[in-house]
């Protein structure tokens, strides 16, 4: 491979900006300077699809209407554990307007639990059993209510701790190895180890396994904090539910999907129906939120396709609000034991962690990775257990594992600081080696007014004020299977094509910015056609991978297309293309100012109708920590929270949050702020409000709707200010990363620390409710 050496900006402007030399493949584009010197990148560019959104013209999957389309509804189990002896569809079938009924039948795969019946064993309330396609949604619903299912009920267990008992009803009789999307942390989510419903432990992550010697570590400690923290199950509740519209004609199965991962949905559908990938087209132009839960075709995708097959008509199948809560993902709960030891000077000597959590019938409830890596500590060990229960499967939820883990870790660190009589913020300077978090602490603290913080419990009056801080880290993941096509059309017009989807994060806009910057054009000159698997495959929108994965090949493809165009101009001007630049919609000669041509004129020199270049994500400059795409560095944040606690009513209000974040080279400040606002608000919700309430005696979720599933509305929104720290590391042609996960990790911990600062009593469990405050203050029992 031919390479060249280039010097990249390195570090944090205003703090330690320098340069680093990297050896990069020759075909990579030249270095971009820091954002100050760029025209479009790092600016407040308005979202390119905002107009459609504010006028109601944006067409989401749920809005799609096709000629002859039928509406489908899924029948779901209303018992938590049972075998199905029979299903009677005779009444439903004869309802006028019903076109087809599809029953989910048992197809146990090797190694999976084998229920001998015709139908799969029911494992949770809300498990899909059958689907109906009808002329209208009302008819489909009515038909579903007419299907009679005969259950042979089995004992079940809903509660996490009850499920851990050795004599608890067993959820799965056989080992399970399949991870239900959910979490992360362990080297594998090993469902085959363990006893009863408890599976695991997982003791390592891709950052390695246990280190040092914990016993020795705790011996060296002058102070020790040992606590158990609890976090709740909560559900994603995206405004648009999961669902698809499937249009299956002779040649191609077209799936309009509300998804975070068009390519994954295509792959699943192709595999379920044994079709070549070329014959499945998944399209997602607008989608109404996912937050981690929408990476798969689920069971609704194949259900819609089966109904399309049976009826020969397009099928609309969107879940309703209740189904969404029951069956389409949740963040697992946790009981986390954490023991941290430190010397008098603050140096950490040991971190021990043990966690149990339930992702219902799924796996992936681990929480340990943040404790493993956030702070320097020579001795560390974790044991993370998944506990199976008869409840809907968990799914990834913005920074899976780290959000739960941060709630415990960041409170324990505060407690250590207090024992050592240190300010919790300056204590973190001592134990955190991250340079970018150091700057975030400084800049955040100044904006927040950290110096106003008083000793815990010293606030006077009934309504007590408190200030708190929490930190986070998230890996820089890169999806190497990220490709994009750039087309320059003859006579003007530039197009970006990829299967990568914009789930509301602003991906369309940043791609247009990258290409506009590279071609010296304006954002409005770029047409972004993404969310379609007929285009080159891009990454799924999860793990904050999109920006870091798809913007470098987007720039590279634009650079290649530009180079091809400049060659044509150079030929005409009888010069070398290296003498030419593109800026402000023009092609210019670097030295001969007489030679200039508009971009549009230049494209007329093309022999073919378009120049088309496809690029894929190349390796990071200087390689990866792990070759599969774990990049060097991290995405760190520091968040500050200010709360008021009414000690008479127990009511907590988050007044203000300052969120200091970094994501490499920021691409679009407005969109970054928006995503950070979203992460913070979801963090407020996690800390104070939302909670999946289950009836342990029936296995039903009690608040599977919007009115009783409490999340913040306008009245509960704190004032949020963001600090975005530019951090350059010269690892790719854009050096940019995402913010989706980092924005959500530290908030609940910062709020819990602020609540402690206000009332002088610590809460170890979320959601922090008026009743838990009053209990903590011993005002009620």
């Amino acid at each position: 491979m031919d390479t060249r050496k280039e010097k990249f900006p390195y570090g944090i402007p205003g703090h330690n900006l320098s340069e680093v030399e990297r050896e990069i493949p020759v075909e990579e584009p030249p270095v971009w300077p820091i954002n100050d010197k760029l025209k479009v990148i790092g600016k407040r560019v308005t979202r390119i699809d905002a107009l459609e959104k504010v006028t109601g013209k944006a067409i989401y999957t749920s809005d799609i209407k096709l000629p002859g389309m039928l509406y489908a509804k899924i029948l779901r189990s209303n018992v938590p554990h049972a075998t199905i002896s029979s299903i009677d569809i005779s009444k439903a079938k004869s309802l006028p307007g019903v076109h087809a009924i599809h029953l989910i039948e048992n197809t146990p795969k090797e190694g999976e639990e084998n229920s001998t019946g015709k139908y799969p064993m029911v494992k949770y309330v809300g498990q899909p059993l059958a689907g109906v396609a009808a002329e209208s949604l009302e008819i489909a619903k009515e038909a579903v209510s007419l299907i009679k299912v005969n259950y042979e009920k089995k004992p079940f267990v809903i509660d996490l701790e009850a499920a851990m008992e050795l004599n608890a009803p067993i959820v799965f009789d056989a080992p399970i190895t399949k991870q239900q999307d959910g979490g992360d942390v362990g080297e594998t989510h090993d469902g085959s180890k363990g006893e009863g419903n408890v599976r695991g432990p997982s003791t390592s992550s891709f950052f390695g396994g246990p280190r040092g010697n914990l016993e020795e570590g705790f011996k060296e400690a002058d102070v020790v904090v040992e606590r158990t923290y609890r976090t709740q199950v909560h559900t994603h509740m995206p405004l648009e539910t999961h669902g698809v519209v499937v249009d299956w004609n002779a040649d191609v199965m077209t799936v309009y999907a509300s998804t975070q991962n068009t390519a994954a949905v295509r792959n699943e559908m192709a595999s379920v129906f044994n079709l070549p990938k070329s014959k499945v087209r998944v399209i997602c132009e607008f989608m109404g939120g996912g937050f981690g839960a929408k990476h798969s075709a689920g069971s609704f995708g194949p259900m819609a396709a089966n109904l399309a097959k049976k009826t020969g008509r397009p099928i609309w199948l969107m879940l309703d609000r209740q189904e969404e809560h029951l069956a389409e993902g949740n963040r697992p709960n946790s009981i986390q034991y954490l023991k941290i030891g430190a010397k008098k000077d603050g140096t950490l000597t040991g971190i021990q962690q043990r966690s149990h959590g339930t992702a219902g019938v799924g796996l992936g409830a681990g929480v340990g990775r943040i404790a493993q890596i956030l702070y320097t500590c020579p001795n560390f060990a974790t044991e993370q257990y998944d506990v199976l229960t008869n409840a809907g499967p968990g799914a990834a939820w913005r920074a899976p594992g780290n959000v739960q883990g941060a709630f415990g870790l960041e409170q324990a660190i505060d407690e250590i600081a207090e024992k050592l009589n240190l300010d919790p913020l300056s204590y973190r300077d001592h134990i955190d080696t991250s340079e970018v978090r150091k700057v975030e602490r400084q800049r955040g603290a100044e904006l927040f007014g950290w110096s106003r913080r008083k000793p815990a419990g010293s606030s006077k009056g009934i309504v007590k004020k408190g200030l708190g801080v929490g930190q986070s880290t998230w890996p820089r993941f890169v999806s190497l299977d990220s490709s994009v096509e750039i087309k320059i059309h003859k006579g003007g017009g530039v197009e970006i094509r990829s299967s990568v989807q914009d789930i509301g994060t602003g991906t369309k806009t940043i791609l247009a910015q990258v290409v506009a910057e590279e071609l010296g054009l304006q954002v409005k000159d770029i047409k972004v056609n993404i969310g379609d698997t007929f285009f080159p495959v891009g990454p799924g929108s999860g793990g904050s991978v999109v920006t870091g994965s798809i913007t470098p090949p987007t720039r590279n493809a634009a650079f290649e297309a530009k180079t091809a165009l400049l060659k044509l101009v150079a030929k005409k001007w009888e010069t070398d293309s290296s003498e030419l630049v593109m800026a402000d919609g023009q092609v210019n000669h670097k030295t001969n100012t007489d030679l200039k041509m508009s971009f549009k004129e230049a494209t007329k020199l093309m022999r073919t109708s378009q120049i088309s270049k496809i690029a894929s994500r190349s390796d990071d400059y200087g390689g990866f920590q792990q070759p599969w795409g774990l990049a060097y560095g991290d995405l760190g944040s520091v968040q500050f929270a200010e709360v008021s606690v009414n000690t008479d009513t127990g009511f907590v209000k988050v007044d203000r949050v300052v969120a200091a974040h970094s994501c490499g080279r920021p691409l679009n400040i407005g969109q970054l702020e928006s995503q950070i606002n979203g992460g913070v608000i979801q963090g407020v919700s996690y800390a104070l409000y939302e909670n999946r309430v289950m009836d342990n005696s029936t296995g039903h979720m009690m608040n599977a709707n919007v009115d009783q599933y409490k999340v913040p509305f306008s009245m509960e929104i704190p004032e949020i200010e963001t600090v975005i720290v530019e951090e350059y590391s010269g690892r790719s042609s854009t050096d940019a990363y995402g913010i989706g996960e980092p924005a959500n990790i530290a908030t609940a911990a910062a709020i819990a620390n602020a609540v402690y600062n206000a009332i002088g009593v610590r809460l170890y469990e979320i959601p922090i409710t008026p009743s838990s405050i009053l209990k903590a203050l011993s005002k009620v029992s």
């Binding site: 989401y60 749920s62 995206p238 407005g670 919007v706 929104i717």
Partner: protein
């Protein structure tokens, strides 16, 4: 601030009309997780069809939407939201909770915001409906829509039509709203992506421009 121009009935936090409460009676549950009621719907006067019996089959009704009178064939159980989305292909109006607790389905009934999921299409009668598609006039955006774009007040955008409807109504009826007014106007609007801070900002900026 006292605002005399504003119709008292159009203020948020109104009671839910029994007549319009045609489905999902879940609001009555006294649950510890229910801390604020997000319900947002209006009282309205006698509907056109009082005294007649209909159903269960569909009949043809007329409805004036965004200034145009349209005929549609709907069953008595059809909600206004469904009539708009499924029969008139006006899919800008979104259905999220389908029981009056998120305001994603907000439309105006004779100029006043209502939750269209909570209203029977039959009950519209000769009242005029305005949907999100009818807010921009002759291709010209309402200042609130412009400000939403400018201040990045939409993320996934699914709540945005409802948010815009709430904020346009505020700005059109209160020339000088403050932050509390904006919060009040959107108190029933659920946004899971967390656009609230920018919705507030955008609406205040739009109000300034319209003075």
């Amino acid at each position: 601030m006292e605002n005399k121009d504003q119709d008292p009935e159009s203020k948020p936090g109104k009671t839910i009309s029994r007549r319009s409460f045609i489905r999902g009676a879940g609001l009555s549950t006294a649950s510890s997780v229910l801390m604020t009621s997000n319900a947002f719907a209006l009282e309205y006067k006698e509907p056109l069809v009082t005294g007649k019996e209909f159903g269960p089959d569909a009949i043809t009704i007329k409805m004036k939407v965004n200034g145009i009178t349209k005929s549609l064939s709907v069953e008595p159980r059809t909600t206004l939201a469904s009539a708009l989305r499924d029969h008139l292909e006006l899919t800008g109006t979104k259905v999220v909770c389908d029981r009056g607790s998120c305001s994603a389905c907000t439309v105006y009934l004779d100029g006043k915001p209502v939750n269209s999921c909570m209203m029977s299409a039959f009950d519209v009668g000769d009242k005029e409906i305005t949907t999100i598609e009818g807010i921009a006039k002759n291709g010209e955006l309402h200042p609130v829509q412009e400000a939403f774009i400018e201040h990045d007040a939409s993320q996934c955008g699914y709540c945005t039509p409802g948010m815009v409807m709430s904020c346009v109504h505020l700005v059109d009826n209160n020339p000088n709203p403050n932050l509390e007014d904006v919060k009040n106007a959107t108190r029933g609007n659920l946004c899971r992506c967390g656009t609230y801070p920018k919705v507030f900002k955008a609406t205040l900026a739009a109000a300034k421009k319209t003075i």
